[in-house]
């Protein structure tokens, strides 16, 4: 997207969102609670830019990545009353799903494990974009953890109907199987989880742009691709940051634009 087109688009958005931009300015001038947010490195201008962006993001970037994923999985476990839960993200280079987080018994042994997409329930959930409850197929997970899994519930993590990974629950507590109601609940939960992960990815991308090369996309999110709209927004923000650095007089406008863009995404 051309930067002029981008600025035009953002200007229109600013007009509509003028009230929110006012609020944003207040936040950037110090009203923004600083407690849970880490102090980003760099110049005061950069700090302000980051605060603006952070203010528009739903999640606290102060939360460590693992903590976020683990919180997500604790919820994933509890929402269907399971003994454990796992989260995989797609590695497109190897064409496999990789466990990036897990909770429950022997969870630490699962993290990093690769799950093939062929002839596996994870593969069906991921490729067919469908929630599936079944008896376990992949006994290599049992072998690695030393735990016998009785049943498994797997939901794809979908962003705009594109799968980025899976979230799964194992061993239904006090019952033989996961129920159809569990499947329905998990579908909704997986949708939420996918958006949280996507949001986290965007946040890291924004940080990377604003902080330069200092921030690195964590391995957990490396497999998550930007949507076209996200990539467009990031391009515009990148251009705005460059413009702000080259022309300090443009900085106030750039701050406004970045804030509005972060909100639009």
């Amino acid at each position: 997207m051309d930067i002029l087109q981008g600025i035009e688009r953002v200007s229109r958005a600013i007009e509509v969102l003028s009230n929110e931009v006012k609020e944003l300015k207040l936040m950037a001038s110090g009203v923004l609670p600083s407690g849970p947010y880490p102090a980003p490195a760099g110049s005061p201008e950069r700090d302000d830019q980051l605060k603006i962006v952070v203010g528009y993001l739903a999640l606290s970037p102060g939360m460590e990545q693992d903590e976020l994923l683990n919180t997500l999985l604790t919820c994933a476990q509890q929402v269907v009353r399971a003994e454990g839960a796992g989260l995989t993200l797609y590695d497109d280079k190897k064409d496999v799903l990789v466990f990036r987080a897990a909770t429950g018994v022997a969870a630490d042994k699962i993290i990093g494990m690769e799950v093939p997409l062929t002839n596996s329930q994870h593969g069906i959930a991921f490729r067919m974009r469908q929630v599936i409850a079944s008896t376990p197929m992949n006994r290599s997970i049992d072998q690695a953890t030393g735990v016998t899994y009785r049943n498994v519930l797997i939901a794809p993590l979908l962003i705009n109907d594109e799968a980025i990974g899976t979230v799964s629950a194992v061993n239904k507590i006090n019952e033989e199987h996961f129920t159809p109601q569990n499947i329905e609940d998990y579908t909704g939960f997986a949708e939420l989880a996918a958006h949280i992960i996507r949001q986290r990815m965007r946040e890291y991308n924004l940080k990377q742009i604003i902080e330069g090369d200092a921030a690195k996309v964590p391995e957990e999110l490396a497999g998550v691709k930007d949507l076209t709209s996200d990539a467009d927004l990031l391009d515009i923000i990148k251009n705005l940051v460059t413009m702000g650095r080259k022309s300090p007089e443009m900085l106030p406008l750039c701050r406004q634009l970045i804030g509005a863009l972060a909100d639009m995404g």
């Binding site: 064409d95 062929t118 002839n119 329930q121 593969g123 067919m128 469908q130 079944s134 329905e184 579908t187």
Partner: protein, 255 residues
């Protein structure tokens, strides 16, 4: 007089019980079928694969090896319900498990060319463009007017999605039923049927079995049931089949 009183449900259920699928061609448009699985021995009549050549898709006669296990599960359910039906494997997923509406359209075209009576589509797309929806509609309607009964899975959560949303396709959701002859039918709803789909035992590649719950596994229960009906009463049109299904539905009893 009610609709149910016009048509004898018991007679329809008896037709289903008597039917074996004999003489009925059922297509499984999916990830392929592992025809070496003992549970599918001799069931797969022909196999096709949709492949891309210079931007165009074409269905070629090929082994149609299953890449996911999904198609094998569906074929296993149909074969169990209608053991004498001739199964046609139409593989649209490539080795990386990728599918596309264009490949599905090509698969439907292949099903029409092969003169299939029933086509199982245990797949759903929620984000097809308007143009693609129109493109696919042409082929779905063509199949319908050729007398083919198309059965498609619905989305787990949103209970919608194509191709199930077309009125000429029977969209299926899963429900807990003991056997394939028990099902719900909702005339006028986008998702017309609920069929057995909770912890269904089905064959899986590698000479194994999987017990699974999903809309994909409910869909072949309807396809198999329709194959039974067609073998008992050859020549039923899609409209007649739908009418019989509605009359035999489990949720229409005990008014």
């Amino acid at each position: 007089m009610t609709f149910e009183q016009l048509i004898d449900r018991d007679k329809i259920l008896k037709l289903m019980e008597q039917g074996t699928g004999n003489g009925v061609k059922v297509g499984i448009l999916d990830s392929g079928v592992d025809f070496t699985h003992p549970a599918l021995s001799g069931a797969v009549h022909r196999s096709f694969e949709v492949r891309e050549f210079q931007g165009n898709f074409t269905a070629l006669e090929a082994p149609g090896t299953d890449v996911l296990g999904h198609g094998t599960m569906c074929a296993g359910v149909i074969h169990k319900i209608a053991p004498e039906a001739e199964l046609y494997n139409i593989k649209t997923l490539d080795e990386r498990g990728q599918n596309s509406p264009a490949k599905v359209i090509c698969g439907i075209e292949c099903a029409i060319a092969q003169g299939l009576h029933v086509l199982n589509l245990s797949l759903v797309s929620l984000n097809m463009s308007r143009n693609t929806i129109v493109d696919m509609l042409y082929w779905v309607e063509k199949a319908y007017y050729n007398g083919m009964i198309l059965v498609a899975a619905t989305d787990n959560k949103q209970k919608r999605g194509f191709p199930g949303d077309y009125s000429s396709v029977i969209a299926v959701d899963f429900q807990h039923f003991e056997d394939f002859k028990s099902f719900n039918y909702y005339p006028g709803k986008t998702v017309e049927m609920e069929a057995k789909g909770v912890y269904v035992e089905a064959p899986f590649p590698g000479n194994t079995y999987i017990s699974t719950t999903c809309t994909s596994i409910a869909c072949p229960h309807v396809a198999g049931m329709v194959a039974r009906l067609l073998s008992s009463m050859p020549g039923l049109t899609p409209f007649q089949v739908k009418t019989l299904l509605m009359a035999a539905r489990s949720n229409g009893q005990n008014p």
